[in-house]
Point group: C2
Chain length 430, copies 2
């Protein structure tokens, strides 16, 4: 006789429905793979009156999530409510009761990850969160398990599908940010309030989770330097294209000298970088490790079924462990390594200036860069009507020096405006 | 006090040395992550007199691998000897003794996988083989665990680095196969006898392993239809390029109507397919799953440290399980699903013919295709000196019908030679 593992589901929106659908559709194969039946016995929803087209008995629904966690007929808790509270309290209570938890809550894991991992460790049960980063893409398990014997040096990810969709369409159609965003909103690819996506908050949370795992450190969402894509223009994208780059919103986490650096911002990425060809709303994570070398993981970062697939994969792991009274890989010690201040970043920069179309401007601009120890690698001027546009690509420079340069440029009379400043990955091209 | 897990290593060539190096270099972090020290206590080598620059006591070496497996001071066995025997017997003996085994032996797993999985299951210990497919790329674990709740429909992989290197250079330099192969041999990227790589045998073994996992079936290396890259010419690559394709040696495994289809051959792949931009000696595996959608895993498919990284990841898993007297995910039932005969494949084809440069040839060729139910999508003729070259791309057709067409073409007087026949993935382009 197959054992039964009883599941309590907290939340039954898009992702929760995806989980129920997959568990029902693949029930036989899942039983064959685990030796157990996975049965959804309790589901907490916000609105009990809403009609749901799911293969569940109406009696499983409740609007009191605490009863799901406490119930004797719940062995495993899946949290897909999102937000910090009540999700955090419910998860902690479940762990205390010795019930393993699977969550897709990136915001919560980015904010309270190390405390939650400690609570799971103390209770001796699993806390799994594959679905919290990059939807269907297996990345938590590869970092935590497959690469456990390696030394990861850098993780670069396209971690937000909405912004990648917007930037891809701007690149392919030469369209303006505002137009593509409006279209994405109409199509349901972007929220009415798109701040979490376009401001880089969502990507920053995921970047913090990846950095914590990759570098065995307690990296908090607020530790991540963050710039969104709101000010990226069609001109920036055109310049990037001519120089052999695409502009992508990427999260970069790295470790050196026992300090962790984490940042999310739009970036010039060389067209031959494996991440450059990640189009549409796809996500991808590029990992550099000392022994393994370069790895990339690519797939759908969101959606009911892709995210549901990751959650069900976690649930199967947890079920296997429950049946053996074992638990899966745990996170490492998670002391908080120091975060490298953004000002100490050394990278290359693209700077776009609107200047007066008159003699001597270029000399003055070049001198300003030089005075702040920022060396110019490429420069050219394009005349527009009345004014001129100056495009500069620098050699590697310190972020602090670049910022001082921009401040000084803003004080030059013949410089009308510093239009764009973007960071450039990789070596000099073209 | 940390527990000690004692490792016996069978084989200490390139990959074995990589494993020893990583275990020594990352010893502290590995202990932090597992709660155990991993110590190499016995190493079986072929030549005891050979000088080895490894951080191991000389007393650990022996030229009798059986003693390593039997030794009381060996808890886990790593097999990196390669070949079928004595590797198979040693692994089975280790499992019988209750010792988990980590192997990188693709040939063995492709040939005896299901029997070995059954032996591990019976003994209640782990048998792990992440390193057997695509070196450093985590693909076994994602298929076996992350996607355990999903339904995989197709797996397409660039599974052999040597052939991808050769085809990439042919594509980028317009060079001939023989020249690039000779160069690759001089550089050590290809063996003196390159048959295992260029003939597709290595890729076929890996494809069988992936198909077994993806479709819960016992797929044997010999079940894989196989064509190598030896007859791919610069002309083929030029035609592919003009039509919007690259030629790659890919392994394709799919399941439909409870039958499994597995094949390895050079293929026209659309340039916008994620696998098309996998250059040099990199490997990549593209997975299509019902809920997760499209996923891709990319990285180094070979080399001492990349392969070593995958092995050490497995060893850490195994060690964690040993400490809990648990075991990891097992393969499913592995009944052998029927293999779909290659003749029933339906795909598009590229056919290149050398024909007499005279009126009526095209009509006769077109009629031959039509008589065998193969519909032509694109055709054009290029005159060379004295003869003409006819390039044809078909609509989807059955492999059996295409073969009959080729036989009939070979019987036409004005057809001097059927120069190339290659399969085409994806929809019609250009």
């Amino acid at each position: 006789m197959d054992r039964v593992i009883r599941i309590g589901l907290l939340g039954c929106g898009t992702v929760g429905s995806g989980v129920v659908t997959i568990l029902s559709r693949e029930a036989d194969d899942i039983t064959a793979r685990t030796g157990a039946k996975l049965e959804v016995t309790r589901v907490a929803v916000r609105d009990l009156t809403r009609q749901r087209d799911l293969p569940l008995d109406p009696s499983v629904f409740t609007d009191d999530p605490a009863t799901v966690v406490e119930a004797d007929d719940v062995d495993v808790v899946i949290e897909v409510m999102g937000g910090i509270e009540p999700a955090s309290g419910l998860i902690r209570r479940a762990l205390t009761l010795g019930k393993p938890v699977v969550t897709a809550n990136k915001e919560l894991v980015a904010q309270q990850g190390p405390e939650l991992y400690a609570a799971a460790l103390a209770a001796g049960v699993d806390l799994s969160y594959e679905a919290a980063v990059a939807g269907a893409i297996p990345i938590i398990k590869p970092l935590k398990e497959s690469l456990a014997g390696d030394r990861i040096t850098r993780v670069i990810g396209i971690l937000n599908g909405t912004t990648n969709y917007i930037l891809s369409r701007m690149t392919e159609e030469g369209a303006a940010y505002e137009d593509v965003l409006a279209d994405a909103q109409a199509l349901g690819y972007a929220e009415a309030d798109p701040t979490a996506d376009v401001g880089g908050h969502d990507a920053a949370a995921k970047c913090a989770i990846l950095a914590s795992l990759a570098f065995d450190s307690a990296v908090h969402g607020d530790d991540v330097f963050r710039e969104g894509i709101e000010s990226v223009t069609a001109v920036d994208i055109g310049v990037a294209d001519r120089l052999g780059y695409v502009i992508k919103l990427i999260g970069i986490a790295s470790e050196s000298e026992d300090r962790v650096a984490v940042r999310v911002h739009p970036t010039f990425l060389p067209k031959d970088h494996p991440l450059a060809s990640v189009r549409d709303s796809y996500n991808a994570i590029y990992v550099e490790a000392e022994a393994a070398g370069e790895l990339m993981f690519y797939g759908r970062g969101a959606g009911a079924l892709p995210t549901g697939s990751a959650i069900v994969g976690d649930v199967i792991d947890v079920a296997r462990n429950l049946l053996q009274t074992a638990r899966g890989a745990t996170e490492s010690q998670h002391r908080a390594k120091p975060i490298r201040p953004m000002g100490e970043l050394s990278t290359r920069y693209y700077v776009l200036l609107d200047v007066d179309d008159q003699a001597g401007v270029l000399a003055e601009v070049a001198q300003t860069f030089g005075q702040h120890d920022v060396s110019i690698a490429q420069v050219w001027q394009e005349d527009t009507d009345g004014s001129a546009r100056l495009v500069l690509i620098t050699h590697r420079a310190l972020e602090d020096d670049l910022r001082a340069t921009v401040d000084a440029l803003n004080r030059i009379d013949s410089v009308r405006r510093v239009t764009s400043v973007l960071r450039v990955e990789g070596e000099i091209l073209g």
